[in-house]
């Protein structure tokens, strides 16, 4: 294998953003007929490195060679011409255009959409994709959009494919489908790089692993000859235990009782249909489901942010007294100790203000307290310092606008703030989305601490492996209905996967 000429060879690549060094003299080889997993924590520079290969960023120093020849990649177009195609974490698609229009975007020559659609169909047949060339992007599911992205780079004749966290938004079934396609492409002689921090996926799909840490290239491993523990240690820089604690539920008593909850979106689509369940104090209730199955609406209904068509939500006090939450406004609900930390796809959308700094964002929760017209800036400032220290947020300073932080760090700030408000009910969605192992474990630990102090935690998660290890009970949503509630200790991953796609999980 050492004799082969690498399809891509990066040498001494360095890139800085202001005072942050994103990549520091990185060397990396990518070969054809091989799937390389690029592994690293948040902010370790994986995406930045690949963005330089695809022409989005330009390196400050270093040399890139394709098939042994030195090249300069100054723009995305240069990258296409060299056969490099990148599938970004945030899809680069124009919503109001069709699949075909998106795929031919940026190409030269006369516009012939019919011929293009025919070529798309033939690519789909060759690798086993399912795409309707005339469907508008805004009508597509996340997995369909991703397929369009992959077809787009193949259409341009790319034979070096880079996928940035492709599985972050997919169900286990969709992930399996994607992996089958990737294997087909590898066998076809394409070079594939997959950026991820899910170790079981690295083990399932890749041939080789490269680990980045703090912008530096740490080592290259052959997947078959390593294991999750070794990879984690390299990624983090010190030994980490990979087991999630699941302390026994602490004195569980019903805290939130939801009965027959039905919610319609503003366009009249049924989002939640007759949902009933109980969340206990001192317990973690996991919520599983394909994205868009009503998770967001459910949490927002409990927090009082979502108009409800019918049903009721009760908050049960310690003495058994029930309060109806639906008649209260969000502020009153929050005063009861119901705290919502929802991490939407763009992370900043709900909860944080991008152009405000850390302590101002902390203040968003507390500015109503106090009795004078002046705000108290000291407490939020201390809180921000505490969150930065405890969750190891990497930020130049407390006064940095949140927008400038990397995604994972933004998330830590949000979750840290919500937990700090000492809630009695903690609603959290996708708390670890896009977070690396180390930070994820910090968050799991924080959630467990809340559980031990008697908080009722409702945890909406994407990673079924984590849900199965963390949650005491798992509620599975399917198309807005409760598909079932299972015991987290006994449930099987496949069983939940089936319940996510079919009511009750029957085949």
């Amino acid at each position: 294998m050492d004799k082969k000429i690498p399809a891509v060879s990066l040498h001494g690549i360095t890139k800085t953003f202001g005072s942050t060094v994103a990549n520091d003299k990185v060397d990396l080889d990518i070969y054809r007929g091989e799937i390389l997993a690029l592994l690293g924590e948040n902010g370790s520079g994986k995406t930045t490195l690949m963005n330089m290969l695809s022409g989005i960023y330009f390196p400050d120093a270093g040399q890139i060679a394709i098939d042994g020849k030195d090249v300069v990649i100054a723009s995305p177009k240069d990258a296409f011409d060299l056969g490099i195609g990148m599938i970004h974490q945030h899809f680069k698609l124009v919503d109001v255009l069709t699949a075909t229009e998106n795929i031919v975007l940026g190409l030269e020559g006369k516009l012939d959409l019919k011929a293009a659609a025919a070529k798309i169909r033939s690519i789909c047949d060759a690798y086993g994709f399912e795409v309707d060339p005339n469907q508008k992007i805004y009508d597509m599911s996340v997995s369909q959009k991703q397929t369009v992205e992959i077809v787009k780079v193949l259409y341009r004749g790319a034979d070096i494919l880079i996928l940035d966290e492709p599985t972050a938004v997919l169900t286990p079934q969709e992930t399996e489908k994607l992996f089958t396609v990737l294997r087909n492409m590898r066998n076809d002689g394409k070079a594939i790089v997959i950026i991820t921090h899910k170790l079981h996926e690295v083990e399932a799909i890749s041939d080789r692993v490269s680990v980045l840490r703090h912008g530096q290239h740490i080592s290259d491993l052959t997947t078959a000859r390593t294991n999750a523990q070794e990879m984690t240690n390299m990624m983090v820089g010190h030994a980490v235990t990979l087991n999630i604690d699941r302390p026994a539920p602490f004195n569980p008593k019903p805290r939130i009782v939801v009965e027959g909850l039905t919610v319609r979106s503003s366009d009249g689509i049924l989002k939640l249909d007759d949902v009933s369940f109980t969340a206990n104090s001192g317990e973690i209730l996991g919520i599983a489901g394909i994205s868009g199955s009503g998770q967001k609406e459910l949490l927002e209904a409990i927090a009082g942010l979502q108009p409800v068509e019918s049903g009721s939500i009760f908050y049960v006090e310690d003495d058994g007294h029930r309060q109806e939450l639906l008649q209260k406004d969000p502020q009153e609900i929050a005063a009861l100790g119901v705290s919502l930390s929802f991490v939407p796809e763009d992370r900043l959308g709900m909860g944080l203000v991008g152009s405000m700094d850390l302590s101002d964002n902390m203040m968003l929760r507390s500015f109503r307290r106090g009795h004078s017209v002046f705000t108290d800036r000291k407490t939020p400032h201390h809180l921000a310092e505490k969150v930065v220290k405890e969750l190891e947020v990497s930020t130049p300073s407390i006064a940095t606008p949140v927008r400038r932080l990397s995604g994972g760090n933004v998330q830590k700030v949000l979750v840290g703030r919500e937990i700090s408000s000492a809630p009695t009910v903690l609603l959290t969605a996708y708390a670890v989305r896009g977070l690396d192992i180390n930070s994820s474990y910090t968050i799991y630990d924080l959630i467990n601490r809340q559980k031990k102090s008697g908080v009722a935690v409702i945890y909406v998660g994407e990673d079924l492996d984590v849900l199965l290890e963390l949650a005491d009970r798992i509620l599975v949503l399917c198309g807005g209905k409760v598909s079932g509630i299972v015991d987290g200790k006994k449930a099987q991953k496949n069983e939940i996967g089936m319940m996510m796609t079919r009511l009750g999980g029957e085949a």
Binding site: F80, V96, L97, N102, G106
Partner: protein, 330 residues
């Protein structure tokens, strides 16, 4: 009986400057640039043409005048004037990434002021008693109707009685629609306005498309100003005569939900609404007329409400309208 044969041609000539303005602004907005400088650019297009035409008319006598130069000089001056305004807007918003709304409003203020100032200077130079410049020779050629117009009765009056710039406006609007919807350039332009990130990653030169669309859009809008002076106003320039037509053109863009071909009929409708007050008998009560003058804006509001309620994705403004783009922004 409402006199349609006299009303419709007047609605059309009112509509043509709006059509130019809205076609230009639609192209501009499709690239993601919200150019609120259009009213000023239309002023600039008008005064530039007037300046060129004024000096040419002064330098010749009726015996030596060349028809070609009489038409070409104002046209060229108008195009250059509005092109410079478009370039200025692009330099500020695309290259320097200044706020588009502020830049646009500044350009409008500048264009209107520029027009009134140099219009005033020319009036001084011409030494006439009335506070206006009269370019009747030039205007005669600009507003010359198609042949046979006066021999074909109502048909000629409705369809053939306009100057060549009116027909050019319709051709440009149809061409703009064709380019936007049927060509690769149009596809790329729409992508730039919807999602510059995506377009950039697809290898499209975002800045070039923004510059090109905005400058071409400005030149088209500038022609609207020229048409107004040379044809509609019979070659008479006076301060502030152009009025609020530039804003009406921007309203028309929303009214047509960013479709230049729809703009053709919509501009005539707007033109009709704009002058409807002259055709409605209101007696001595002038206040009623003011209410009728609001009609175009009321109709735009109604269209906005309907379009927003239907929430059809194709009918929304370009997604990145008004935002500047920087590739390495984090």
């Amino acid at each position: 009986m409402f006199d349609f044969v006299s009303f419709i041609p007047r609605a059309v000539v009112q509509g043509i400057p709006l059509l130019y303005g809205s076609t230009g602004e639609t192209l501009t907005e499709k690239s993601g640039n919200l150019n609120l400088g259009i009213p000023g650019i239309m002023y600039m297009g008008a005064i530039s043409g007037v300046i060129g035409s004024f000096f040419y008319e002064q330098s010749t006598t009726p015996e030596t005048v060349s028809v070609f130069l009489l038409l070409a000089i104002p046209l060229l001056c108008s195009l250059i004037g509005s092109l410079l305004m478009g370039l200025l807007y692009c330099f500020l918003t695309v290259t320097l990434r200044a706020n588009q709304n502020v830049t646009g409003l500044a350009i409008t203020t500048f264009g209107v002021g520029f027009g009134n100032f140099f219009g005033g200077s020319l009036i001084k130079l011409s030494g006439t008693q009335v506070p206006a410049i009269i370019l009747s020779t030039t205007s005669g050629y600009f507003s010359r109707p198609l042949p046979f117009a006066d021999r074909l009765g109502w048909f000629g009056k409705l369809f053939l009685s306009y100057g060549f710039l009116a027909y050019l406006a319709i051709i440009i609007a149809l061409a703009a629609s064709f380019v936007l919807n049927r060509t690769r350039t149009g596809l790329h332009l729409r992508a730039v306005g919807e999602s510059p990130n995506t377009a950039d990653a697809a290898g499209i030169n975002v800045a070039r498309y923004k510059y090109a669309a905005t400058c071409i859009g400005s030149m088209i809008a500038g022609l609207g100003g020229l048409y107004y002076v040379m044809d509609y106003a019979s070659g008479i320039w006076s301060s502030n005569a152009f009025g609020d037509r530039g804003w009406l053109a921007i309203a028309l863009v929303i009214f047509t939900i960013w479709r230049p071909n729809v703009g053709i009929l919509a501009s005539f409708l707007f033109g009709g609404l704009y002058i409807l007050h002259m055709y409605i008998p209101s007696g001595m009560n002038l206040a009623i007329k003011e209410i009728y003058k609001m009609l175009p804006y009321v109709v735009t509001l109604i269209v906005l409400i309907i379009v927003s309620m239907r929430k059809k994705r194709e009918n929304q403004p370009p997604a990145s309208l008004g935002l500047s783009y920087f590739r390495e922004d984090r």
